[in-house]
Symmetry: C2
Subunit: 555 residues, 2 copies
């Protein structure tokens, strides 16, 4: 983030001054400090301020309240020695909005915090404890004028403020981070699926036929139904994330060429990246947790490593755009597009289904039926959100309050859109790969099964929404979809281990006693338990310090 911000907001001179040293860790260990103890999503509410002093030509940085302490930046705790600090700019008492400042916080040589700098680690977290997230208080910390990043806005020597053109590419950085996040969470999901699959084959539990021995847990259909859809989801997310990456690159190129196509695609790209990141991080972390639970008690052990994978995946629900906030951003886009559709305007391709008011025609292609049903649901949810907003507005509340009151309908619309898009796009990507001839017939078959399972699983999980808006779907059709779901489980079961082996996660990456390639589950559990420091002494000190006095005292 430090370097990305320098690139997008720094002048060439500023980049020359900081980028190279940062890249080579030459006295510059950077972090990006935006969020504050009391302020996150609502960026305009940040309290940290930078006052320009035209006499010394310096900015004076302050976090005037406790709630304005910077809080969360990664690496800030005890590693970084320079921070890009987002602060409210004031010149001669006049406010010029948020700007970015490069602030040295620790001495380059001694690493001691500089005068006026109060820095530390914010404490243990659910996951990612190696990230060293920190807090930062600033008290009259002075930096030279040229340490405000000035590509898009400048403060001249005398304090004159010059606003440049609004930075379109800022949008781009946010999209970039969300595409990366989508990839991160799907990898987490596939790692957890690898561990659970391998364990579920080694672990034998309960007989199916009473005259035979206990079977692999994965032979129980209830276990297949927990694990295989997660593999299908991870693979499908991967296909969609690759497509999204290409879309992002296309738009970026167009923006750099200053083409209007790029400018026109930005809102669609932004809306897609918001809801896909939100829904994927939510469902991936839910999936990781289900996979943990599918491993019974042993999944609960830290040595299984689900807790660490869960911590990282769950964090993605919040960072770089909180779940509900992102959904509301997508929803606003969808409602605008829906209004456009009523005016018969041409819509961007990812939302063109909003114009299609035809009812569901149940054809032979099950996956296609499911996608179409999800699209109809999404369209109806968008319509309902729009109507709810209108109804509230007509009842004399402000447009903003109406939008708050329609919050549930708006977020549901964005979620429904994400499901419709994920499923349609995943099917299209398999088809494209197949047509390109990149896949062997066997791989093509299994990949198709996985994506079909993902589509059907999404349809069934969303059946409340789907049935509400597709009254025509019959019980027979639903039974047919469910039967196909179970058929796919049976077809994929024999390939489960080969599939997760194919993801090629190294044992060290998985870091799990349950999920290693060689299947030596019980040996590793035992070895890991023996390594526990508590076990290094036959009698724990708690016996002499606590138990013995209690037993003597006969509580």
């Amino acid at each position: 983030m430090f370097m990305t911000t320098l690139l997008s907001q720094g002048t060439e001179e500023q980049q020359a001054q900081w980028l190279n040293r940062s890249w080579h860790m030459d006295g510059v260990l950077g972090t990006y400090a935006q969020t504050e103890l009391g302020h996150g999503t609502f960026v305009r509410g940040l309290e940290t301020r930078a006052d320009y002093d035209p006499i010394t030509q310096e900015f004076i940085l302050n976090t005037p309240t406790q709630s304005s302490y910077k809080w969360w930046p990664g690496g800030l705790g005890n590693t970084a020695n320079v921070a890009i600090v987002l602060a409210q700019l004031y010149v001669k008492g006049k406010h010029y909005g948020l700007q970015s400042f490069v602030v040295r916080i620790r001495d380059e040589r001694t690493h001691e915090p500089l005068t006026g700098v109060d820095v530390g680690d914010i404490g243990p977290r659910l996951g990612g404890n190696g990230v060293n997230n920190g807090f930062l208080g600033l008290r009259d910390v002075r930096i030279p004028r040229n340490q405000m990043l000035m590509k898009n806005a400048q403060v001249l020597n005398d304090g004159t403020f010059v606003q440049g053109r609004p930075p379109l590419l800022l949008y781009g950085t946010m999209v970039y981070v969300r595409v990366i996040t989508l990839k991160d969470v799907l990898f987490g999901l596939l790692q957890a699926a690898t561990i659970a699959t391998r364990y579920s084959v080694v672990r034998r539990q309960s007989r199916i036929n009473s005259d035979q021995p206990e079977v692999s847990v994965l032979d129980h259909i209830t276990q297949q139904a927990k694990i295989l859809p997660q593999i299908a989801r991870g693979v499908s997310y991967r296909l969609v994330s690759d497509w999204l990456w290409r879309f992002y690159e296309d738009v970026l190129r167009q923006l750099e060429d200053e083409s209007t196509a790029g400018r026109n695609s930005l809102p669609e790209l932004h809306a897609l990246s918001c809801c896909l990141k939100a829904v994927a991080s939510d469902e991936a972390s839910e999936g990781v947790d289900l996979l943990r639970k599918s491993c019974g008690g042993h999944g609960f052990l830290s040595s299984a490593n689900f807790d660490s994978i869960y911590g990282l995946t769950a964090a993605a629900y919040t960072y770089e755009g909180e779940y509900t906030v992102l959904l509301l951003q997508t929803a606003r886009f969808l409602v605008r597009q829906y209004v456009d559709s009523l005016k018969r305007k041409v819509l961007p391709s990812s939302v063109s289904y909003l114009r299609d008011t035809s009812r569901l025609v149940w054809g032979k292609n099950l996956a296609a039926n499911c996608v179409r049903a999800l699209e109809i649901s999404a369209m109806e949810q968008v319509r309902q959100a729009w109507q709810t907003q209108k109804t509230h507005q007509s009842s004399k509340v402000s447009a903003e309050m109406a939008s708050n009151l329609a919050g549930r309908q708006l977020t549901s619309a964005a979620i429904a859109h994400a499901h419709a898009f994920f499923t349609r796009n995943a099917l299209e990507q398999v088809e494209a790969l197949r047509k390109k001839g990149d896949l062997s017939p066997n791989v093509s078959l299994v990949l198709s099964q996985l994506v079909e399972l993902f589509v059907i699983d999404t349809f069934l999980r969303q059946s409340g929404c789907v049935l509400r808006w597709n009254n025509g779907i019959t019980g027979t059709q639903l039974r047919f979809v469910e039967r196909r779901f179970e058929e796919l489980l049976a077809k994929l079961r024999p390939n489960a281990v080969a599939l997760v082996d194919g993801f090629d996660f190294h044992d060290r990456v998985l870091g799990s006693t349950l999920g290693c390639h060689d299947g030596r589950v019980y040996e590793r559990l035992m070895e890991e338990a023996r390594r526990n420091p508590v076990n290094q002494e036959p009698v724990n000190s708690s016996f002499h310090n606590h138990l013995l006095p209690m037993m003597r005292g006969k509580l």
Copy 2:
């Protein structure tokens, strides 16, 4: 568990020998060792064995394989010095099934593990790390004959095995543990809800009207929709768990009086306790996690304490009966009852709705409509599970395999039954309290709102299942339910803080920087961060050990 097992399986002499000493911690620190490294749910598969030696009149205990190591018992790691060990009994090579044995594992005075005993802690876990769960290997450990628990079966001096009557009350203990678990998880849920509610009032984020300051997060309807239904769920679970406790006590009393009523009620009680524990632990831990996420980044900090509450609540999904296993037990009961209903038999009251084949009549009482729709769904899910089993059986697989193949339908049926029961019973309990006149009008009103919210929330969350089996429900009716849901959020919002204050969790119990009674969130976050050991030295040792060499080497 140590003492409960002594009570239910020990003779009077054995109780005299062990109970009093255990209760007073007089040289006896007990634990109960059943689960093994390779064996959990399928108890008959346990490998630990006890061979009777008629010459010395001793049992010789062994864990003959790695997978037979006892694994998970609480307090076993370094606290307990005596264990009740579940083992396969062999006399003169003949197998007599599972029996319980009292085995001293550590010296009473020195606490050193005894000869042949290999004991330790199984390592860190997702939650409950204070529980000191352990492993136990036994190699030719000899115990006197009178340390097999002999209330229900005996081994005489010469090795003669005498089987007593099967212990009906064992069932009772399992039910007891599940009722307790239900209470544990609902307390976890309400604790998390208390923290999230208090934080959501203190935390201000985003404006609703652009000319006004940022509002409390709880003023956003999306936040209300995350938090208030969890409070409603916790309170409703509480009402149902109190009823279940009374039912349990009634049955227990009847069993002690050897009445047939008790014997007849056991299967119903058992089936109820299984699915209620399973569904409540699943939904409570999901709720705790949602509450954590509702607190944004700060909810992710360990100092918020959601991670520890989640760890304990999530553990309940697995311990004392794994989720899917319990659901399948309830499902088998439901299918049997359904078959009885086809024969026009009278059914136990909790499943009497299985006989009611009338369609949903949408009346004025919204909550009653929702409950009835959930019952119809449950009934149809049970019917579908039964039919799926029959279909598979007729296709030439064994009854057991048919049951495995119907696993998804069976578990869905048990979940639907739990929802139908939770909602109907919660409504009935409020009504009973109201009729008893125990409630002030205001408390009665708020309690009714909470339970109605719980019922409607359950209905909406299950809408896939509900709409599938209640074709008659119209879009207008659904909109009506949703509007009532939002109305209830608005009605409960002003009482939210008073409600969670009413749960009366002490700040020390909550242990959360975000959830204290006085609302000093940011101060506590800062104080807690400053306490972090990493912050005690201005320059962390990692700077000299790692960063400096790297920077010098200019990687």
